[in-house]
């Protein structure tokens, strides 16, 4: 793998880790969703950088585009859930969603 690949992977990993930290630590439901968006950026960067390093940029673009479409569907569903939760509990705090024990 070319050396620039490792540079991109460094940043992609940083993004994914930041997103995971956000998922772990944040309490506002919408913030949790922004963290998921950040993870998505990290992953799409990783995919495209891998394609770039392999001179397979066209395939990588197809993958990233599909991934973005999936992300849109996911965000739409999640935000619909959040809005419904808000209608129930009048709050966006994940600690108010602690009825179930897991």
């Amino acid at each position: 793998m070319t050396n620039t690949w490792y540079l991109y992977v460094f940043f992609a990993a940083a993004l994914v880790f930041a997103g995971l930290l956000g998922l772990l630590g944040k309490r506002n439901l919408i913030k949790l969703f922004i963290a998921i968006g950040v993870i998505g950026k990290g992953v799409s960067l990783l995919l495209l950088a891998t394609g770039f390093a392999k001179a397979n940029i066209l395939t990588a673009q197809a993958l990233v585009i599909t991934y973005i479409v999936i992300e849109v569907s996911l965000v739409a569903t999640a935000l619909a859930l959040i809005i419904n939760i808000y209608r129930h509990t009048r709050s966006l705090d994940i600690r108010d969603l602690a009825k179930l024990k897991g």
Partner: protein, 493 residues
Amino acid sequence: MIILFVVLPLIVAGILPLVGKVSRRVLPDLLANATLLFLLVYAAVAGRALIAGGAVLQQSAWLGEAVNLRLALDGFSLLMLVAIALVGFAASLFSIDYMEHYGAKANYYALYLVMIAGMNGLVLATDLFSVYIFLEVAAVASYALVAFGLGHDELEAAFKYLMLSVAASAFIVAAIAVVFGMTGSLDFAAVAAALQELNAGPVLVVASAFFLMGFGLKAALVPFHAWLPDAHPSAPAPISAVLSGLLIKVSGVYAMTRIFLNVFGLTPALSTVLMWLGVISMVVAAFLALGQKDMKRMLAYSSISQVGYVVLGIGIGTPLGIAGGLFHLFNHALAKGLLFLTSGSVQQATGTRDLDEMGGLAKRMPVTAATNLIGALSIAGVPPLNGFWSKLLIIVALVQAGHPVFAVVAVLASVLTLWYYLLMQRKAFFGKLNEKWAAVKEAPFWMTAATVLLALLCLGIGILFSSTVTTWIQPAADVLADGIHAVTGSWGF
């Protein structure tokens, strides 16, 4: 026309909203169930003939040009297709009555069919990224289906399920990117061949670990199981049946098994990890199931435990172990689907899922009690039901492969399973009839029909286990036991 398995449910789902405007109940019920019945008949009847000569590969042509719609149907895929169609059809029949008071039936069936299409696409895909796409298709549909009732608990469960699933997806795609980087391809056959050439060692271990984390979460293996005991009970009963009976197996166990056995190749290290994960899930979840008062929650923990059995069996790596694991996967899909459906019948009749509040329901709901008993005994592994044979195969395989301690643990876990299922049966159905339930009636026709169908199958497969194994399980196990050769040999496009 293997593509029908994916495209037909999608097309019907697409027209369902229009149909729903015309007829709110009858037509959607009819359309959805007819579709699933068709898929079931097609898979069960035509499927075996199709694969008689080896894997069927379909590369479609669209308007005269060859397009890359590559789907492959081999023994393993066919087994999953039949399981998906069976449990999918039964839960859909059940939904005819159960989903009446939820409203928006056309919308429900549309989501349901998209989920089925996603699962079918997953098992027919020949490409790492396609597996991921269809996994997400089924997942997005399932988030909405879990939250379908729009109550507080359902929304909370769906949200947490979504959070964890997204983390899992990130790991899966990261692993796919690494494999793509190493091999330059995503197709199973090409990747398998390329990995043989490369001396990929430690990087492959990292990719495998990412896949394990991602698919392990989808399969709800301990320690990635935390989402399931909330998500499955809160969903409407037919959805719980499909989630526990099918989705965790298709997105979790199937994907993991296909990639680890047919693409990466099962190394001794991987085998050990899988076996340990399986055993830990099997035991921990069984203990956690013991203390549960909520009927569906107990069933959810039991699912985690039984998936542990499946992964343990497949992890052994020997043909007998793989066959046992696959047989148990199939049996558990049927039996757990059945149990969640009967729990739905009970919940609808009594309005509660709390076992302590129930009692003596067998007197008022005899058919439900009987089918529930069959499902419970099947999972607990009581002869002559199907679960007994699959667990026996796994235990024998463990002994043969030189893991007597695991075999003993598996037997003990079975005893534990039997214990908590008998407890559930006694608390809910037997004993004195609680006066609160003096007026309940047996479940409506379609709900009963669905549970009877699954119960008869559990019984039938148990009695005819030998022919079931040779006809359906053995071809699947052979594909997996072949390892990489199954994919590189006959799948080369």
